[in-house]
């Protein structure tokens, strides 16, 4: 529900986890399955005397994202130090951007609560380094000790900050889905990796102070936390308690938010320019990055409608995930594009969602083969769905199943015309009562005969076709 008095703005931390090395050192970014503290070096551990060296590829990725979000790329960009003490931050400052971020003033289009397209303004896009990760022995409030894993420390992060343009938890989620989609299109981000995206949400009711709910790692979590906050702030207001500016923590298990500090306790981060890095003139980089910029979701959707003559709804569904869009295009090159759109958007995606698996589980070749069989009429639509399900449900080696094999094994081939005609003749002969009823004017009686045909063909006949043939046979036999 759109609520006019709800104001939401987001700060989204995006890990540029498709880079090979960290932001300021040569350590590998592929630490996700590694033991703790195995992807570190003197630089990312902040040992005395070490200095940061900027990963230029990371800057290119940041510019790529900023361009895709329609930001103005700044002529010169600069890093700052944000000073605070925390065990996961080995230098006791985070190298980040402050004045002169990579991009300012962009936008993302989402589907608003009213179903209309809505613009969410982007305030800024800036780069920073990720801290390490604390692992508590038990829950955060009861742990006897905590351990620190610095594998993550020094990963490249982008912070995407929105204007307070969102009006409901659902819009916030829709924004995050769209942002993730764009980032995956740009090939800078893999949203499936742990900690890939972390979100701080600012939420207030009109006339009240805002609460910042920090560090939520799932889109669903953001939606739930915001919904909880709206209810909490509304009831506080009804009780006459004013919201104060504060930072809150979202407890995912209990589904609630708890206050961790108020404005009076806010940090003074003592930002100042990082003296170990030099300012960069990135204006000159823009043409090269722009030339490398891939087609983005909105553009792809329009092109799909134009090139493949498919419905806009189908185009939107197909482009909502880069992997699905690529899959569709691969299939559409070798099959009838409209038929492919229907089967992938309406059937395959539903089956994938139901099983919570990605489209990587399905082969382009198999989809082309299935569509070919549908078009040639060698399987029925029902049979095609069965083939898709069987392939997805196969747990062993994927090479063990293919559409032809499934059709063969399950006897899903549409019955040959002669066999269907034979079954129709036999059924009309056998169902004398139904034939009599039909001839007496009871049109529905034909269904019984068609059912018999289906039974005789063990379902391989097309029901519509069977109906037509039964009528033909009745007309033929009735006139003699």
């Amino acid at each position: 529900m759109a609520e006019k008095d709800v104001i939401i703005g987001l700060e989204v931390h995006v890990q540029l986890n498709k880079l090979n090395s960290k932001l300021f050192c040569g350590c590998s970014t592929k630490y996700h399955d590694a033991p703790p503290n195995t992807h570190t070096c003197p630089v990312c551990l902040g040992l005395p005397g070490t200095l940061p060296v900027l990963n230029r590829r990371a800057v290119e990725y940041a510019i790529r994202v900023a361009l895709a979000l329609h930001c103005d790329i700044q002529g010169e960009t600069l890093f700052y130090r944000k000073n605070y003490y925390y065990p996961d931050l080995p230098k006791a400052f985070q190298i980040t951007q402050y004045d002169f971020p990579v991009g300012l003033g962009g936008k993302i289009l989402i589907k608003g609560e009213d179903g209309e397209e809505k613009t969410i303004r982007i305030t800024r896009v800036h780069m920073e380094e990720d801290p390490g990760r604390l692992v508590h022995a038990g829950t955060i409030d009861r742990a006897k000790y905590s351990m620190v894993d610095y594998n993550r420390c020094g990963m490249s992060l982008l912070e995407v900050v929105t204007e307070p343009d969102l009006r409901s938890p659902k819009e916030a989620r829709s924004f995050l889905d769209k942002l993730r989609n764009i980032l995956e299109y740009l090939d800078v981000f893999d949203g499936d990796l742990e900690g890939a995206m972390r979100i701080d949400s600012n939420i207030s009711l009109v006339g009240g102070e805002r609460a910042e709910v920090k560090n939520i790692s799932s889109h669903k979590g953001v939606e739930k936390a915001l919904a909880y906050e709206i209810t909490r702030q509304r009831s506080a207001r009804r009780r006459g308690v004013a919201q104060v500016q504060e930072t809150r923590h979202y407890d995912e298990l209990r589904g609630i938010t708890v206050s961790i500090r108020t404005k009076e306790e806010a940090h003074d981060y003592r930002y100042f320019p990082e003296p170990d890095l030099v300012p960069m003139r990135i204006a000159d980089w823009v043409p090269k990055v722009e030339a490398e910029l891939p087609e983005l979701p909105d553009a792809k959707r329009e092109r799909f409608v134009a090139d493949y003559a498919i419905a806009d709804d189908h185009a939107k569904s197909l482009t909502s995930e880069i992997r699905v869009a690529n899959f569709y295009e691969d299939v559409a090159k070798r099959a009838t594009p409209r038929l492919a759109a229907v089967w992938i958007a309406d059937v395959l995606k539903g089956e994938l969602n139901y099983r919570d698996v990605t489209i990587d589980r399905f082969r382009v070749d198999d989809m082309v083969e299935i569509l070919d069989m549908i078009e040639k009429g060698t399987i029925t639509e029902k049979g095609a769905v069965e083939v898709i399900r069987t392939i997805l449900d196969h747990l062993g080696d994927p090479s063990e199943v293919d559409p032809a094999g499934v059709v063969e094994a399950k006897g899903l081939a549409r019955a040959e015309d002669d066999a269907v005609k034979e079954a129709v003749r036999a059924a009309v002969k056998e169902c004398s009562q139904a034939v009599a009823d039909y001839r007496a004017g009871n049109e529905k009686a034909i269904n019984f005969i068609v059912g018999m045909v289906m039974k005789k063909t063990r379902g391989r006949a097309d029901p519509g076709e069977a109906n037509r043939l039964v009528k033909e046979e009745l007309d033929r036999t009735g006139s003699t």
Binding site: G46, G49, V53, K91
Partner: protein, 478 residues
């Protein structure tokens, strides 16, 4: 024992034993009460010397012993910045300059005493106690690289590395009567130098004469990809030493003379200017009008950067630990309270204040603006048609007594008045001995254009060749 590098190299080439040379150095260091070293690397150094004796290598500093300031990271050798909080910290990596020294065959003999985290002008803020001046042992050696300077002056090391944030190489070189060079900001990689004030400091050589300093600079200068602020070096500093000063124009900044300068120091510096004139140079008065703001700007920038740089010392990953851990905030607060000395705490607090919301613009930003003006002062004075080099006293007075000023930080800060503007401007400067006042050495400072170390060194060499001071050594150590 005191010999310049050229002579040591000749002896080694003629078959002298590096092992004997190194072990006699260690004997001398152990007998000494100067407290120039905090860490000796005896086993490793002797092993390397034996290896050299068996199979001499061919580097520029092959077989030459060298002392390293305790703020420069050495793999396997404790690097404690003369601070309790880093006691026991052994880096797992070498600073860029250490890699270069090793590539050229130098043998590291130990780590020298310094003001804690390079914060001081006298080496008295060290956790390990003050170093003594080899000329008069009740005097300070200057700072912060006081251990390096005293070791070289006393023959406890043939040469040494120091670092200079606001005079920390030139001040002790001046007080100990040796040569100390602060290179142009960016000429030498800072990778591995424990940061005090990143935007100001450089590593540089301390040596007995100009040639030795040039030889060490040849080894350590040049671009290193791990320091984004480092740049390429033309090299050839030793090769470019000869040529004299004929036709050279020396600028004499009027703000560096007069009030607050010891009259004997002033006289000796004017004598040096006359000597340069005799050698074919001319001099003219120049002005560096923003000099009076340099100290304030310097201390604000240095303390601000330091407050951030030193925040990482929390005892969590390395360095000092105290008994049983409590919660995070208590533990790291207790470790910092116990591990950092009063001068370091003072600078961290002042720097933290200067960077705080509401004060940043009033202090830090303003200091950066002053810094730009000071840099422009030097560029103007050293522009084409102006002076080629500037000549000034290094310190306003000779070495003072241990304990004389340590209770009065402001008077200590004031001692840096002629050295800090050079760091703010980023230009190179050398200090070398130009005589003695009341039995204590006095330093002459020669300042050059950015990356014009060659001319600075050539001027210094011409002066040195025409004067006897570099050959005079402290009585007690002959």
């Amino acid at each position: 024992m005191i010999a310049m590098l050229r002579e040591l190299k000749e002896r080694l080439a003629a078959g002298a034993s590096a092992e004997e040379m190194v072990s006699s150095l260690f004997d001398k260091i152990k007998r000494s009460d100067l407290n120039a070293y905090t860490i000796l690397s005896e086993d490793l150094a002797l092993e390397e010397a034996r290896e050299f004796d068996l199979a001499p290598c061919s580097g520029l500093l092959a077989g030459i012993p060298i002392a390293i300031k305790s703020s420069i990271s050495t793999r396997g050798i404790e690097t404690n910045c003369s601070s309790r909080i880093l006691s026991g910290y052994i880096p797992p990596y070498d600073a860029h300059v250490i890699e270069r020294l090793k590539e050229e065959g130098a043998i590291i003999i130990g780590k020298t005493n310094m003001d804690e985290f390079a914060m001081g002008t006298s080496t008295e803020t060290s956790f390990f106690g003050p170093t003594r001046n080899p000329w008069k042992t009740d005097r300070v050696p200057g700072g912060s690289s006081g251990g390096s300077a005293a070791a070289v002056a006393a023959g406890e090391a043939p040469c040494a590395l120091g670092s200079d944030t606001g005079g920390s190489i030139r001040c002790p070189a001046s007080f100990c009567g040796i040569v100390g060079l602060k290179p142009t900001y960016g000429l030498v990689s800072r990778y591995g130098l424990v940061s005090y004030a990143n935007s100001l400091e450089q590593i540089g050589p301390l040596a007995l004469n100009v040639e030795d300093a040039a030889m060490v600079l040849d080894v350590i200068a040049g671009r290193d990809l791990r320091d984004s602020t480092s740049l390429n070096s033309e090299g050839g500093y030793m090769a470019g030493l000869e040529g004299g000063v004929d036709g050279l124009v020396c600028g004499v900044p009027k703000e560096y003379f007069g009030d607050g300068v010891d009259p004997e120091v002033e006289t000796l510096v004017w004598d040096a200017i006359s000597k340069l004139e005799e050698l074919g140079a001319s001099w003219k008065e120049v002005s560096l009008p923003h000099t009076k703001y340099a100290l304030a700007a310097y201390y604000i920038i240095a303390m601000s950067e330091a407050s951030s740089n030193l925040a990482r010392f929390d005892g969590l990953r390395y360095g000092l630990r105290l008994g049983a851990d409590q919660d995070w905030h208590t533990t790291f607060s207790e470790i910092r309270a116990a591990g950092l000395g009063p001068e370091v705490k003072r600078r961290i607090l002042l720097g933290t204040y200067a960077l705080s919301a509401g004060y940043y613009g009033r202090y830090y930003l303003k200091a950066l603006k002053v810094r730009t003006l000071i840099k422009e002062d030097f560029e103007r004075a050293l522009s084409a048609g102006g002076a080629d080099v500037l000549v000034t006293p290094t310190m306003p007075f000779p070495a003072f007594k241990i304990g004389e000023r340590i209770e009065d930080p402001l008077s200590l800060y004031m001692a840096d008045v002629f050295t800090v503007p050079i760091n703010l401007a980023g230009v190179p400067a050398i200090s070398l001995s130009c005589g003695f006042a009341r039995g204590l050495p006095v330093g002459l400072q020669i300042i050059g254009r950015h990356f014009d170390e060659k001319l600075v060194l050539r001027t210094a060499k011409a002066y040195e060749d025409a004067t006897p001071y570099h050959e005079t050594v402290p009585k007690e150590v002959v």
